[in-house]
Amino acid sequence: MRRMMLGAAVLAVGVWGCGGSKGNASNGAAGNSTSAVAQSGGSTGPTGNAAVSGVIHFTGAAPSNPKIDMSQESACQGKYKTPPTDPQYVVKDAKLGNVFVYVDSGLPNGAKYTASAPTQIDQDGCLYHPRVFGAVVGQDIVIKNDDNVLHNIKAVPKVNRGFNISQPSAGMTSKRSFSEPEVMVPLECNVHGWMHAYVGVLTHPFFATSDSTGSFSIKNLPAGTYTIKAWHEKLGTQQQTVTVGAGETKNIDFTFSGPKA
């Protein structure tokens, strides 16, 4: 009885903590189509008014995402009406979400960018939101726990110094940053083995993550010729070259095909 009451209490706190407003909690797709930095302009370094935008297409049958057994984590399970799945593939109308699109090369030599505003990743319903995002070297990444359970956040980079911290209670935030460019740095939670997120660390703010409709947009680019790369956690990386003039917006699309069965 006591245990049940405690469970209910945890549940209540959990619901209160997330405000019940996260309608799209189950698919975990990035809500914003551009990085916070590029949009807010909270960065230094040469920028312009050119833009690159487009859509990520997906061909083939969308693989089903694995179900997550949250039965041992009632505080998280309570946030879902349908059984949660691990959003490895965010596919809707043959468009692919959670693809990290970024400028790989072509920026003026010696250009240095820093971000003044932090970017944020939430742990809500025992999943990361966003799952795929970018950060500028040195930019603070605010890590927030919206679940009233322990999460640990372990970064397993190859180039950067990793970290492994814990957030035992709801509402807790921590700040971390990476000092070297690295695409992508995986983040994971070891309390909940299914939780994965990926952060692309770049020297500049010209990156975006495709939203649930597959579209992305990289704004404030100086005029120039760029190699644009698109990365997906399961489907690898593609690249295209694009030239944009001042004030121009170029459209480029990428097409990923599903894994062969």
Binding site: D69, S71, L150, N152, N164, N190, V191, G193
Partner: protein, 228 residues
């Protein structure tokens, strides 16, 4: 309150309770007697031989007889405890101790989860119908289960207090640990070896089913696994 400060072991639910608990009570009795004897002697001596004016302590340097007596009595008592304990140890942990009819499961510990692999309806590990479940250990009652215990990263320790069983899970090693539950119900499995930030939460639920329920559970799980 009497439960909080009890010298009784909490109720158990495996055959090891019978093998282990009496050793505890035996040692409790032996050490209890020794404890009372020593502490009472100490207090009595302290009161009786406290300093009084004009008295002098007895000038003696010892007694070989006393030394021989208490050395040999202590040695005999501890050796007897050892001899009485050895069979239970061999039964529980000995390499030959695992009953041949035990149901095999695989337990892989990782920071900070217990992943249990069940043999599926065919009762054999390493076949296609195996399935793995996180954080839940389901076993049938009154039947030995043998777990092949290993770890992915740090050292963890498989500890089910109600079963009186504990075994470290060591990366790179596959250690067999067996137990036979005797009561249907839900128990807790914890990690007993410091393994990192989430050590305190490396918990799983142990559910002991009747054989029928267990088979039904296996069938339902195997079904949903096949569906994926």
């Amino acid at each position: 309150m009497d439960k909080l400060l009890s010298w009784m072991l909490p109720p158990g639910a495996s055959t090891f309770v019978g093998d282990i608990d009496w050793i505890y009570y035996l040692i409790l009795a032996v050490t209890g007697i020794a404890f009372v004897l020593v502490e009472v002697a100490l207090i009595v001596f302290l009161i009786r031989y406290r300093k009084r004016p004009g008295r002098k302590a007895t000038y003696i340097h010892g007694s070989n007889r006393a030394e021989i007596i208490w050395t040999s009595v202590t040695a005999v008592v501890v050796v007897i405890i050892g001899i009485l304990s050895a069979p239970a140890w061999n039964k529980i942990k000995g390499r030959e101790g695992v009953p041949p009819n035990a149901m095999p499961i695989g337990i892989e510990a990782k920071q900070f989860e217990w992943n249990v692999t069940y043999p599926g309806p065919d009762g054999k590990l390493g076949t296609a119908d195996d399935f793995t479940i996180r954080g839940q250990l389901h076993v049938p009652v009154d039947r030995p289960t043998v777990a092949m215990l290993t770890s992915q990263d740090a050292i963890h320790s498989f500890f089910v207090p109600s079963f009186r069983i504990k075994q470290d899970a060591v990366p790179g090693m596959h250690i067999r640990v067996w137990f036979q539950p005797t009561k249907v119900g839900e128990y807790e499995l914890g990690c007993a070896e410091l393994c990192g930030l989430g050590h305190y939460r490396m918990r799983a639920v142990v559910t002991v089913h009747t054989q029928q329920d267990y088979d039904r559970w296996v069938a339902s799980q195997a079904h949903s696994v096949a569906q994926r």
